[in-house]
Structures are given as C-alpha cells and as structure tokens.
Symmetry: C2
Subunit: 206 residues, 2 copies
DNA sequence: CCACGAATTAATCATTTGTTTTAATCATTT
DNA sequence: AAATGATTAAAACAAATGATTAATTCGTGG
C-alpha cells in the first residue's frame, strides 16, 4: 500500500468514510476527520466545502455502490433463480465480512436524509422490472402461490444476508458464541441462504 | 390520556425517549429534550444528572423490554415449534408497526456502548438453553440436518421479522410501493414467517 | 401565616465545533 | 531566480452545547 502517494483529498475522504460509517454524522467532528487523515483542519472545508457536503459525498458513494451491486445481481441472465440467490448471498456476505458497518450506516443515513437518494443517486423502482422479480413471480405461480408478492421474497433474501451483520452484537451476546464461531456461521450462510430461499418459495401453502 | 397528570420526570423521559430513538445520542441536544418536554433546560440535569445518564436510562429500558419479550417467546411451553414462530412473529410485527425506530436505535446504541448490556441489563446467553433452541435442534435432527446450528435458524426468524422495518426506506424506494401497501405487506408477514421458518427447517439438504 | 425544603427559572460558564481568515510554504513555470 | 498559483498551517470567530449557579416560586406541614 502506498502511504505517501495518496493525495490530500483522498486522505480526507478515507478518514471521513471510516469515521462517518463507524459513528455517524453527528458524532463525527471535522477535527476528528482532520486528525484521522493527518492533515490540517482547514483543509477539510477547503476541499469539500462543508462537513455536510463531505458526508453527502460518502453517503452517495456507498449508496451507488450498493445499488450497482444490486442491479447486477438481480438482472444476471446467465443464472437461474437458485443460482441468483446463491451468487447474491455469497457476494453480500463477502462484502459484509469486510465492511460490517456499512448497512447500518446506510440505513441510518437514509432516515436522516431520505432525499439524497432521489437527487444524487439514480434510484427508481429498479426492483420492479428486474429479472429476479420475474423469476420469483414465476416460481411462486408454479406453486400456486400467486397471493404472495415477490417483493416479500426479495425482502427475505436481503434480510437473511444483512440482518446477522447488523444485529451481530445482540445475537452474539444472547447466544454466547465468540467472534470466530460467528464468522464461521456467516460463511456457512453463503450456501445455506439460497437453499432456504428455494424452500420458502416451493413449500406448500396451507 | 392525561395531559397534565404526567410528572416532570416523566415528561423529560418521554421527550428523551422520542428524540434519542429517532435521532440517536449525538444528534439530540439537551435543549431539544427540554423543549420537547416543555420544561426548563436545567431540569434535565436536575433530575437525571447528565445527558449521558439519561440516554443510558432509555437504552436500558428498551433493552430490558426487548429481552423480556424475547425470553417469554422462546420459553413458552404451551406452544409447539411452528406456533412459537407464529406467535413471536406476530408479536414483533405488532410492536414494530407502532415503534419502527426502536430496533435501529438499539443496534446503533449497542455499537456505541456495548458494555451497558453487561452492567445494567441482566443479559447472558439466554438463548442457548431456551426451549425454542431445543425444539429447533430436534426438528433439524429429525430431518438429518444436524450440521446446521439452531442459532442460524433463530437468526433467520429475527431477520425476517425485524429487517423489513429497519430497511423500509430502501426497500420502499427500490420497489416503488406506497406506505399503505408496505403496511399491508408487513401484516401479511405475521402468518407467512412461521410457514417460511418451517419450510427452511424441513426442506431436504442436498 | 410562616417556614422550610423541593421544584422551577433565567442567566451564565467553559468547551466544543463548524467555518473562515490570514499568512506562510511549496511546486511549477517563465 | 522571480513569479504565480496551489497547498498547508496557525489562529480566530461565532454559534451551539452540556452543565452549573443563584435566585425565585411553589407546596406542605407546623
């Protein structure tokens, strides 16, 4: 890794990303960012105008990354339904093992500034017309379960992937397992989730 | 509802609960709390010592409520496995429809102050020896799936209940459905989740 | 009615924090 | 080398914030 090659703007961005994701907007001061970046305080606003604007930059960056990854997964024509589930679960878990705080950061930020999505990220109802939703719909209909919205199934997929990382502190305490065991469990989920998803879809409705 | 019958301490507590849960610790000022409670600024610290202590009070309160509800659900001997799933899902969804911000508040707070759980809330590995975990374990073994930890299944239950509320902003935007439709979906999940859980447990392992 | 303690208020303090300013330094070009 | 513009540093400012103080009001028992 190049320690000195990074420009000042990048150093600020890296520090801000780390702190904002970890602590949120209000709990992070511009002085924290400057110190973490190892640069002078004035440079934060010199390059990014304001703390608010710097935060928005980080937020949009992460949001776009998420949306991009999502749109790839849900529209991949080379995979069938179960394979899509497996691929998406594996991808998300890989990402979450490295950046476990990002989902909480995004969800928290969206409550504070929901408008950012519309203005700065190109986000519409990309889910509605996706290949994945069509395939889920078809699979449900094949089981005579057309009363269930495909969106319910998609929510389950995301929940099974993301929730264990968001709720890790509580879950780990309530179960009493250590960090290594928890990581092992998360890795097991890579392949389990797709099977669970198929089971939910194909089980009989009583 | 009695508007004036509430004591000053309760007024402060109510205001603090609302604001802390909504915005978090750092984003909430003591002046916000005083204004929301309709009382003088000095009274906040007069009754609760410090902002930090007031926050801890709210946090412990919510955490205890959660743990209490959980321990009831997972140890109910009058219900079988699927009935437990159904009851717990129904309970959580009822609570989440009224207080959708509580989970995010708890999860966020636990990252900031994980010690509070140990010191102020009686929390141990209550899950490990619970009736629910034993029943999940038995059901898995009956399917010859003893490789899967029962904790995985429990995580799924919580995720299916809580995640759609935590991630509501993103999910609603990505799908383009309105508030009423979303609430309708959440109500449908009351009964769906238990069936999904059973499907995940009883499906064949390939 | 008075006295005493609790409750409430307005004012103030000491820090913190976002932001700006002004001057100094560095790098590159002429 | 001089000049020019970009970059960095130190200091300062105004507003916000957690906390405290001192005075005032309120309620209740004697």
């Amino acid at each position: 890794m190049p320690p000195t090659d990074t420009t000042t703007m990048e150093k600020i961005l890296d520090a801000a990303r780390k702190l904002f994701v970890q602590q949120g907007f209000a709990a992070t001061t511009t002085r924290d960012i400057a110190k973490e970046a190892g640069i002078n305080l004035a440079l934060v606003n010199y390059y990014y105008g304001s703390k608010q604007n710097l935060f928005k930059t980080i937020m949009v960056e992460h949001m776009k990354g998420f949306m991009k990854g999502l749109s790839v997964g849900i529209n991949d024509p080379s995979r069938g339904l179960e394979e899509k589930f497996a691929f998406m679960a594996d991808s998300y878990i890989s990402m979450l093992l490295v950046q476990p705080d990002v989902p909480l950061f995004l969800l928290r930020s969206l409550r504070e500034e929901p408008d950012v999505l519309f203005r700065d990220v190109g986000i519409g109802p990309i889910l509605t017309d996706s290949l994945l939703m069509k395939e889920i719909d078809a699979a449900l209909k094949a089981q005579g379960r057309s009363l269930i919205s495909p969106l319910q199934i998609f929510i389950n997929l995301m929940g099974l992937c993301v929730f264990p990382f968001i709720a890790r502190p509580i879950l780990q305490m309530a179960s009493g397992i250590d960090d290594d065991q928890y990581t092992t469990m998360m890795n097991e989920r890579r392949s389990l989730i797709a099977k669970w998803m198929m089971a939910m879809i194909t089980t009989e409705q009583r």
